[in-house]
Symmetry: C2
Subunit: 513 residues, 2 copies
């Protein structure tokens, strides 16, 4: 081996080390970045971590402080164990685990001592056999009852601790004579550890499961609203310049249009939050017996709506052939429907967030209902003119989905109203508009105000002319809508009024009907 | 108080006691019944409970058997604790917890002893302070990293045990001088408890998470299939007598039509099963590195399909006005599409269950694609005749949803094919039918065999006549379908062939087209 090759080897070695160091540095930087992002996404995570550290340090005092150590001895370990196992992110989670652990330990400790006394009756030989059978039976029964969905949801941890404590007390009772002292020490240290957890969890930057649930459900409604408000602009590109079609991005750079997807699988999160929320004391705007269960109903309806939107999304992707001309005909009612649904949901979300009366959403819900009827008229009108049925089916399907979504939004509105009553949302002044006639039909970006055509008689004249007109199906280029005689099923005042409005108003986005 | 009233009181008291006893008895009976049902629904739950009892009894031996007790002393407690906390329903769950617990204890124990030595350098006064700071920092860091979704999924329990062990070793090190002995004892008992759990879990009636995942995904496909196979008969009642519309019930008395609903929220279950399955050794038909992750993809597609079905269900409920006459026109392709999709899914599910080549589903997928084209032709034909567009939109929407479902089923078929390759499903003989021309168009209950019309030339003549025919839209009663000139986009051989078949075959359910 000559010197040259050694030098080369050295260079190679150092460059290898350098590359490795570079890789390591890149890896560490990426981990640090994801740590940072995790903290920035929800700073409460950082706080929670420090809270756990604090609780553990406090419990360590048991060991460091001599008087405390003399009182508890090795059993002080249980306090450390309790803190680590019991401290959860939310107050409700911590309380549920603390209380489960406390009660289960107490109950199982008592039962264990009883079992020990009972086994004593069978003499030195029989005792271990009897204890073994008892442990087997109780462990099997408790394990089995963990499969009950209701038990699983609320007392799962308690059942585990029950089995644990009972086995330990019953088994160790065979050896340790000072059984009661042990049980007492264990209970005391668990209570101490649990108390530290509960106090820190409640009084230092508390994270309330109930509040999280409240916000999560409201924000789900908002995500649906964002999609629906933007939908018109995306599906009917001619509307884009009016502002409703701007696809905005959230701070993570994801399209807000994808936001609804997180709702599809929200069931488990909402259910566990609702379970934890039951354990929480009254806090802030929430009383002790806040109707948490009702949030699950709203959540389920929001999911239903999200399923429909998921299908709507698939429709948009696969719809590439619908003639613009047909689209422009249903554009008005469709974009109005989705926009009104979006605004209704946004109003409901705001009402939930501020815990005020959700009546402000009512006009939007009524408008969306009116738009459903408008769509029906538009479809009726389209049928005579448009012969290429196959090409327009995708657009008609989009209309059907929007109708389903409008129904869903109505149900959500009812559910939020019920919640507002049960949870005593603060009342605001009732809107003066009666729900009979559709108010606020004209709003930004979707319908232009028609200041020149305002009197009802004139509108009626317009529709009468159309009713009697006999334009042939081929007369598409004339740009005239045919409104057939309203059927009895759609002759309600709302439908008729809105149909009149549709025929007499200039169509959205400046296209003449 | 006279004697009469006392006697009356007594009677009242006894009747009260009797009523109470009756209530109690009813309550106990109902609880016992739900216990029984829980066990009957999945008998493995009962086995699992007995397995836990057995493991605990075995661990108790540590205490009962004198030689073992002399070796471990009080540390034997940890074995009991390990068994209770670690024993999960599935093998994968148990293994994951055991290994997490073992490694975390080992690692944290080592670090704890190191921290103790390090703190020793700071003298008697500095030691508790340094230890406190170390505990605080490590606990906070480990708690924070539990928020990483990947860590949460796989190592959550390990992180908890890491914090626990480190705190206990570091803190108790300040008091207990035989630190290494303690750590060693703890590790040994944990390994002992863990080993008992793992052995019982693997060798006594094992519940494999992987197998559960495999079965769950296959059964989800079956649930979708059940819905789709029955759909035709429910939506097109004229088909009911042909047998496809019989709504069957499962052993719980629920309509099998509601089965798909459980798929909507299956994500969490599937993900946790897949997470557990990674920890399992090869078992039965599954090798060590079975592509468990791929099941999640199939599961996601099944959920997508279930979302569409959910919307389809809403369509059926709200569709009460579609004229039978239009329905009968799309009945053929629609019921064929749903039936073929259902059969394809059933074939895919069977192929997954038996782990054989899924090629038998291919003809059904091709048929469903052909039916999609048939539907397009039927819609094109309907457009000329049928002027009441509004009334037929719901039925057309149903058709669109079915088209989306057919797309979904095709994707599922591709995913199952990919799985079959990755997981080396056993190959069977390839079907001889080429996918170019749709085979098996005729099957039970939906299409009647047309034995008299079989040659291609004749079919082509039929369509040529239709293409040149100029039947007026009013000529509905003549019972003739108008098939317009196929557009370039639909002029593929498959589409043309199936369209020909459609026009030349008698329509399903015995109704002439």
């Amino acid at each position: 081996m000559d010197i040259g090759s050694t030098a080369e080897d050295k260079t190679r070695f150092f460059s290898g080390v350098k590359a490795l160091a570079g890789e390591l540095k890149a890896k560490i930087t990426s981990i640090a970045k994801s740590f940072k992002k995790l903290g920035e996404d929800d700073p409460r995570r950082l706080t929670h971590s420090f809270k756990v550290g604090l609780a553990l340090s406090l419990v360590s005092l048991l060991y460091y402080a001599k008087p405390l150590y003399d009182g508890f001895g090795l059993a002080g370990m249980w306090a450390v164990l309790t803190v680590v196992v019991v401290f959860e992110f939310t107050v409700g989670g911590t309380l549920s685990k603390c209380l489960n652990r406390g009660f289960a330990t107490f109950l199982a400790g008592g039962l264990g001592i009883g079992a020990d006394h009972f086994a004593n009756l069978f003499g030195k030989k029989g005792e271990p056999i009897v204890l073994g059978i008892l442990v087997f039976l109780l462990a099997a029964a408790a394990t089995f009852s963990r499969f009950f969905p209701r038990m699983k949801a609320r007392y799962d941890y308690g059942l585990v601790i029950f089995i644990l404590t009972f086995s330990m007390v019953a088994v160790s009772g065979y050896r340790v004579d000072e059984l009661v002292v042990l049980a007492h020490q264990r209970l005391c240290t668990i209570i101490l550890g649990g108390a530290i957890c509960m106090l820190i969890s409640i009084f230092i930057c508390p994270v309330w499961a109930g509040e999280d649930l409240h916000k999560a459900v409201a924000s789900n409604l908002e995500k649906l609203a964002t999609y629906l408000e933007g939908f018109g602009g995306v599906y009917f590109p001619s509307c884009k310049d009016e502002g409703s079609g701007v696809v905005s991005k959230d701070h993570n750079g994801n399209s807000l249009f994808q936001g609804y997807k997180s709702i599809l699988n929200s069931k488990n999160i909402e259910e566990s939050l609702a379970n934890f929320a039951r354990w929480e004391p009254g806090h802030g705007r929430f009383r002790l017996r806040h109707p948490w269960k009702h949030y699950l109903e709203i959540g389920a309806l929001a999911r239903q709506c999200a399923y429909n939107i998921e299908f709507l999304n698939a429709c948009i992707d696969s719809d590439i052939q619908t003639p613009e001309e047909f689209k422009s005909k249903i554009e008005g009612p469709c974009s109005r429907m989705s926009a009104e649904c979006g605004m209704a949901l946004k109003a409901l979300a705001t009402s939930m967030k501020t815990m005020t009366d959700p009546s402000s959403a009512k006009p939007n819900v009524e408008n969306s209902k009116a738009a459903v009827n408008d769509l029906k008229f538009a479809l009726k009108a389209a049928s005579i003119e448009n012969a290429d049925f196959l090409a327009i089916v995708p657009a008609a399907t989009v209309g059907s989905v929007l109708v389903e979504i409008a129904k869903c939004v109505e149900k959500i509105s009812e559910a939020v109203h019920e919640l507002s009553e049960r949870a005593h949302f603060s009342r605001t002044v009732e809107p003066t508009v009666s729900p009979e006639k559709p108010p606020q039909l004209l709003h930004r970006g979707v319908i232009r105000p028609a200041s020149d055509v305002t009197d009802d008689v004139h509108k009626n004249v317009v529709i009468t002319i159309h009713e009697t007109s006999t334009v042939s199906p081929e007369n598409e280029t004339s740009g005239q809508h045919e409104v057939p005689k309203p059927e009895p099923s759609y002759s309600s005042r709302t439908a008729a009024a809105s149909a009149n409005t549709l025929t007499s108003l200039p169509s959205p986005c400046g296209k003449e009907p």
